[in-house]
Amino acid sequence: MGKVTLCSDWLDVCSGCHMSLLDIDERIIELVKHVQLLSTPVTDLKHPPEEGCDVGILTGAVSNDHQEEVARRMRERCKVLIAVGDCAVTGGICTMRNFFDVEEVLRRGYVETESTDEGQEVPRSEEIAKLFPQVKAVNQVVKVDLHIPGCPPPADALWYAITELLAGRTPVLTDDLLTYD
């Protein structure tokens, strides 16, 4: 049997969830015996291949049209989609901006930030992704097969989920593996 193929990508995210994945430490050697990483944000190849993969991992919330595109592409190209981390699962800390209008958020970020020089403007370009009015969880955009919440999820939860999937079982997070913070 060939290796299970895995792709991961990140959306609106601090990257902590991918750090948590790296926190499985030496178990990563065991992991690559069974799993082939096709694309991740921290390796050379960034995009899941057109021919698809077995498992897709998305971290982060869906905040703009680019991220929605990334989420849809991952969904199309993977068999099992895992939403990892509070942002992917619930929108998480990114949803703090849901209490403000998008223009307010942009102004705060690009103009009013304490370290911003005077006279700066919000960059406007067709090439820049458009913020949605509301930050969404991944499952509000595409179907998600497994949720692993946590900010970030414990490395043990990720390891457990992956090994359960490899064993052909549906992971059920309990005790310390299920956490929202």
Partner: protein, 563 residues
């Protein structure tokens, strides 16, 4: 009523008729999750997390409000029940803005615990992200409406237990909001900052400022002790993390107040802004020098000895009985208490919950014995008891009183008091003689007499029975504890004295009169007993270490040097 037979999850049992299914479950050792229910208040079935399946009932029923009946068969763990509870949790999480990752109560939240228990790994429903405010207008704790699940525990404890009825709700359905009074900022409301709502909040909606992010449930320990803020003697739980008391809570299992505390007991010491006296120090010229315990004790003993036998020890009533014994036995000279001494026999606080007429004489319970004022307020609000104030001037309980007369008019109301079924006369040292006169005229009345300070009675029993009598000694030892002030009379005498040694937890306000300051543990750091107004001895347990000589050791060492 005879007991009824119930079967819960296959276990048959006999339980008292009239109790709820939830109480029956608990009697049979079966756990049912709750959020809005709290043992100290009446159930209202607001949150629906305790839904259970009761045979012959069409729908699932909330266990907290449903009464048991004979032959009832209940299932608390069926799939139908578990699904319903999971659905309730999904609804609760979808309604407002619950984000554990930056919530100060993460790790100490009933809602979060239940979501873990029921395996919620994502939210099934879209959320509305309502723009809700945070009310931080109160000094000690904050109301974050984003985390509120509208269980109304806060509303009910404020009404049923504290009797203050500051909290309520406005609007209905998804628009419902917890408000204070007629929807004013909490800090501008009739709130008395007793913090009972804070203690019962099952989520992060009410958060303590001092202990925010300071320790979750599995990082803290609890030490049961007694508050030495006044002579009521409320039971407290000191919440400790890494050698620090991060928060004080009421001990639900401890008489006399059964979990209630006032602002002083809950927040007083935590928010005391004075600098702690940590090292012994001695006056040198215009300034102070820190000294070793040996040197400071020697200096204190030398100064006191220089007065010959003309020494007076003034003791704050925060001192324990053990301190009273040590002071009486080991120290020469006369011993007096800093505050007024009232040694009248007193019924316990429980007597006030039986009263149909409160006669409060002279005392302002809302200031000096706040937890006793809760008994009056809830009696008036919920039992139809009446309050008569016999006092001159303003009184915080005036809005609850049906009649107020001056102290010299006490005779005019004796007939009203005699007509009551269970009158209780409440007083303190301010108008003790007027109260005694009323009590003599109405022998059926019970008396609840609060002494000033906390352990006045215990110190008196140990041999420090007199109140400060105007001075006259050459040298003074002031055992001040946490006392924030002494009367002007005392301070004037101390200023003129030849030598003053002070044993205190804080240098203020003693630094201006003292020649030597010996650090003293606070009520969080010392152990011993106190005797509260009702004559009951209660234990004070140190929850955190005190770096220095214990309160009693200091007195014993000083006594040895003086003998």
């Amino acid at each position: 009523m005879p007991d009824v037979r119930v079967t819960i999850d296959g276990a048959e049992g006999s339980v008292p008729a009239g109790i709820t299914v939830l109480e029956a479950c608990r009697k049979l050792g079966i756990e049912v999750p709750t959020l809005c229910d709290h043992p100290a208040i009446a159930p209202i079935g607001a949150c629906r997390i305790c839904l259970v399946e009761i045979e012959k009932q069409r729908a699932l029923q909330p266990a907290c409000t449903f009464p048991v009946s004979d032959g009832m068969v209940v299932h608390t763990r069926s799939d139908r029940v578990a699904d319903a509870r999971r659905f309730v949790l999904q609804l609760l999480f979808s309604e407002r803005n619950h984000f554990c990752m930056f919530c100060q109560m993460s790790g100490s939240c009933d809602l979060q615990d239940l979501a873990y228990d029921y395996g919620l790994d994502h939210w099934e429903f879209d959320r509305a992200f309502p723009r809700l405010g945070v009310d931080a207008s109160r000094e000690f704790f904050v109301m974050d409406h984003n985390r509120c699940i509208l269980c109304r525990r806060c509303v009910r404890v404020c009404d049923e237990l504290v009797g203050n009825a500051t909290l309520g709700v406005k609007h209905r359905g998804a628009e419902t909001m917890i408000i204070a009074d007629m929807d004013v900022p909490f800090g501008d409301s009739s709130c008395i900052s007793c913090g009972t709502c804070l203690q019962v909040c099952p989520t992060g909606a009410l958060g303590d400022r001092a202990s925010a992010y300071m320790g979750a449930t599995d990082e803290i320990s609890r030490v049961k002790s007694t508050c030495t803020g006044c002579s009521v003697g409320c039971g407290v739980e000191l919440v400790v993390r890494q050698g620090r008391v991060i928060r004080v809570e009421g001990d639900w299992d401890a008489p006399p107040s059964d979990g209630l505390l006032c602002e002083v007991g809950r927040f007083g010491l935590q928010h005391d802004k004075r600098r702690r006296a940590r090292n012994p120090r001695m006056r040198q010229g215009d300034g102070w020098v820190e000294a070793s315990w040996d040197d400071a004790l020697a200096a204190a003993a030398k100064g006191l000895a220089a007065a010959g036998g003309d020494i007076c020890t003034l003791v704050s009533s925060t001192a324990t009985n053990e301190m009273g014994v040590a002071i009486a036995a080991k120290l020469p000279g006369i011993k007096q208490q800093l505050g007024a001494v009232l040694l009248d026999d007193s019924a316990g606080l429980a007597a006030m919950d039986e009263a149909d007429l409160f006669v409060v004489v002279g005392a302002d319970l809302t200031v000096d014995h706040q937890v006793a004022s809760f008994s009056v307020k809830r009696g008036v609000r919920h039992r139809g008891a009446r309050l008569m104030l016999v006092c001159d001037g303003d009184n915080g309980l005036a809005p609850w009183a049906f009649k107020q007369v001056g102290l010299d008019e006490a005779a005019s109301v004796l007939d009203v008091i005699k007509g009551a079924q269970a009158p209780v006369i409440v007083y303190d040292a301010k108008a003790a003689s007027a109260a005694r006169a009323i009590a003599e005229a109405v022998p059926a009345a019970k008396c609840v007499a609060f002494t000033d300070g906390a352990n006045t009675k215990g110190l008196a029993a140990a041999g420090v029975a007199e109140a400060f009598a105007g001075g006259g000694a050459k040298a003074y030892l002031v055992v001040a504890g946490e006392a924030k002030s002494a009367s002007e009379r005392v301070m004037a005498v101390l200023e003129k004295a030849e030598f003053v040694a002070v044993q205190a937890s804080y240098a203020e306000p003693w630094a201006k009169v003292a020649d030597v300051i010996l650090p003293m543990p606070t009520m969080w750091e010392k152990s011993g007993t106190i005797t509260s107004a009702d004559g009951v001895q209660r234990e004070v347990r140190g929850a955190v270490a005190f770096e220095g000589l214990s309160d009693v050791t200091t007195i014993e060492r000083l006594g040895a040097l003086l003998s």
